[in-house]
Symmetry: C2
Subunit: 394 residues, 2 copies
């Protein structure tokens, strides 16, 4: 059994077909999962890359673990978020997608169980399935994964690990409460279960204060939990996905295996991109960049919530996210409206507006009434126009 | 059985121990496999990256297949080397190491046989073993793989594919003759065997005329061979390894599977690095860069050959390479000299000179008398000094 055989298990055809239509002129797209290019700090990255090229190592082969100046900067960046990690305690990955791949390579044997949230990041489902994992889906609500159900599933399935996006999940937008976070760490210790925390959106909060600390930041509260926690970070949503710079914090033995696997995956992440990211962090521009990104996405999120309420009324339900990039909504079928999001998506395309049906985000028991709407890439006027078109498609 | 279990099969400890010693002050190292940073066209890359940042897509997510402007430039670059390939006929990889990983993911099921040259690139051996391949070693001489033996091994083992570095092999420095190249393509068709051609060194020739065309360039001479050939190229040895830009040309079905696997490996190669490489190729500086690299490496190669002959005399035998980065030598044991290169390597380190013993480069039946010397990173005076130290270590 090889990867190519398992590719057939990887259901992307519906979404691929949809994305082909996104090139249609005039379409308003809420379908993407990417940040708005218009908000990239191009000037800052330009300066950073120019300075990077003054460094002797920026164009040469580098250590598989990562470029030392970047590991140091990421260590300092994590400290601002309450995580104490030495530069040697993290490795740089080619985007956080590679962290998922290395976790698959390092931990999954064919037939292993892995628990994920239902719904969760589509590429995670696909990546772990390629390694032969059997995925178990843990239910969530607006407060994130339901911890009682999660613990029951851990006891029943004894998974190799649990994969969570605790903060502004993709696609759910859900925010795991502080109380539930602590419970997750406690059950990890109680059952000796590895938890993988994927945190690409944690900096994108719309409230005055940050969201609850990451699971990794909370490990000091639960003795023994740090040894069971893997944390994946990314520059993609806050600075630039095109750099392909992510990182992974993990217990030493797991990190060492991940490095061995990475050595034969791509030798190392682009040194030029790493040196550029390091210079960017060093330049001190990140706090202002984050503040700007938060402000703009918060406005768009608010606009989308208002338009959804006023235009679609009872046809859908949703919880307004407090951060991230996504609304996760459910068709109610009220007044004879649609209940199948993939049918609705086709009608929406006819009205020149696109979103992603939610079913593919479930590893099991898909809820076909769900859908994901990104507010990241359209400005407020386009959001209003797009939601008005959705109303027409109803 | 997972990757982490197979990591134990991956023998690198001897070389890792050696590389730890390379930080010793004053050491002359012939051990590396990397190009000389001093020869990177930093000004050209600086201009290219600045222009890349003017492109709207350079910092955004991109297609898994590769950034379109780079695919077009690589198509044109391959045309200068006699290979006709449409931009859609190649994908960009995160260094050619990732091409090897994708080939492993796409083609190898545990227990599959794969034929490689003996010796061959160490990271290839390790990468394919991680996917559970059983490697078979085909003997070579200075003219590359011995085609009669290769065909017998294909008939005996019915491998999933054959992996070759036909032009200035690592570590062998060997150059497969035109006649043998044609035989390889013919036997591929005769037995329906996929051939993977790894070609990172093909542009680094020291002769007035280029070496024989790549296997890929020769496929029109052997009907049916193109459908069985995978070609891996790289910017690493000619422009910069730090960009991590490689590419892979393959039959459509294999390429499509590789793209699916890459999607979950790292989503795509750094768009910023790809846009920079594309702008560099577009700038027209590559021919002058290649001419300079060839000239400098040719001088160093000549200097190493002369020093080896004058300083070490009959203690070693070697064939002077016509390109690439490496001398592949064999200890003769003449006059009571050493015959085990790993013992000799330790004595050499005491004299502050380093090389890599050849045994780990063999997938089977290691020849412990062999060693690899890189002439890429030391200038002529350091090469002479280093070889003089080697003579002392004798």
């Amino acid at each position: 059994m090889q990867f190519a055989d398992r590719l057939q298990n990887v259901e992307t055809s519906a979404i691929r077909e949809l994305f082909k239509l996104l090139g249609t002129p005039g379409i308003v797209s809420f379908a993407g999962g990417f940040p708005d290019s218009a908000m990239f700090d191009v000037d800052g990255i330009r300066e950073a890359s120019a300075r990077a090229l003054d460094e002797p190592g920026a164009l040469q082969y580098g250590a598989t673990e990562g470029y030392e100046p970047l590991r140091s900067q990421l260590s300092a960046f994590m400290a601002t978020k309450g995580v104490e990690v030495a530069p040697q305690g993290l490795i740089v990955t080619t985007g956080s997608q590679q962290a998922l791949d290395l976790i698959g390579k390092t931990l999954i044997s064919p037939g292993d169980k892995v628990i994920v949230e239902g719904p969760t990041f589509l590429a995670t489902i696909q990546c772990f399935r390629l390694y032969g994992a059997e995925l178990v889906s843990a239910p969530i609500d607006a407060d994130g994964v339901k911890t009682d159900e999660l613990e029951a599933l851990i006891q029943e399935h004894r998974p190799k690990f649990v994969y969570l996006i605790p903060t502004f999940g993709n696609p759910s937008g859900a925010l795991l409460t502080r109380e539930r976070r602590k419970k997750v760490l406690e059950m990890a210790v109680r059952h000796g279960t590895v938890i993988v925390e994927d945190d690409p959106y944690g900096d994108l909060y719309f409230t005055d204060a940050p969201p609850p600390p990451s699971l990794m930041a909370m490990t000091p509260e639960v003795p023994g939990s740090r040894e069971l926690l893997v944390h994946c970070g990314s520059m993609s949503k806050v600075l630039s996905p095109g750099l392909r710079v992510g990182w992974m914090i993990a217990p030493p033995a797991l990190l060492a295996n991940a490095v061995m696997c990475k050595q034969f995956s791509d030798a190392h992440t682009s040194t030029f991109a790493q040196a550029t990211a390091a210079q960017y962090l060093k330049s001190g521009r990140m706090p202002a960049t984050l503040a700007n990104v938060r402000k703009v996405y918060a406005e768009r999120c608010r606009a989308m919530a208002e338009s959804l309420r006023s235009e679609l009324g009872g046809a859908i339900t949703f919880t307004q996210p407090q951060g991230g990039l996504f609304f996760w909504a459910r068709l109610t079928g009220a007044n004879g409206g649609p209940t199948d999001a993939s049918v609705f998506a086709k009608k929406a395309i006819e009205q020149l507006v696109a979103f992603v049906p939610g079913a593919p985000f479930f590893a099991a028991n898909p809820d076909v009434s769900t859908l994901r709407l990104s507010f990241a890439t359209a400005d407020v006027a386009r959001i209003q126009e797009g939601i008005a078109r959705l109303a027409k498609a109803l």
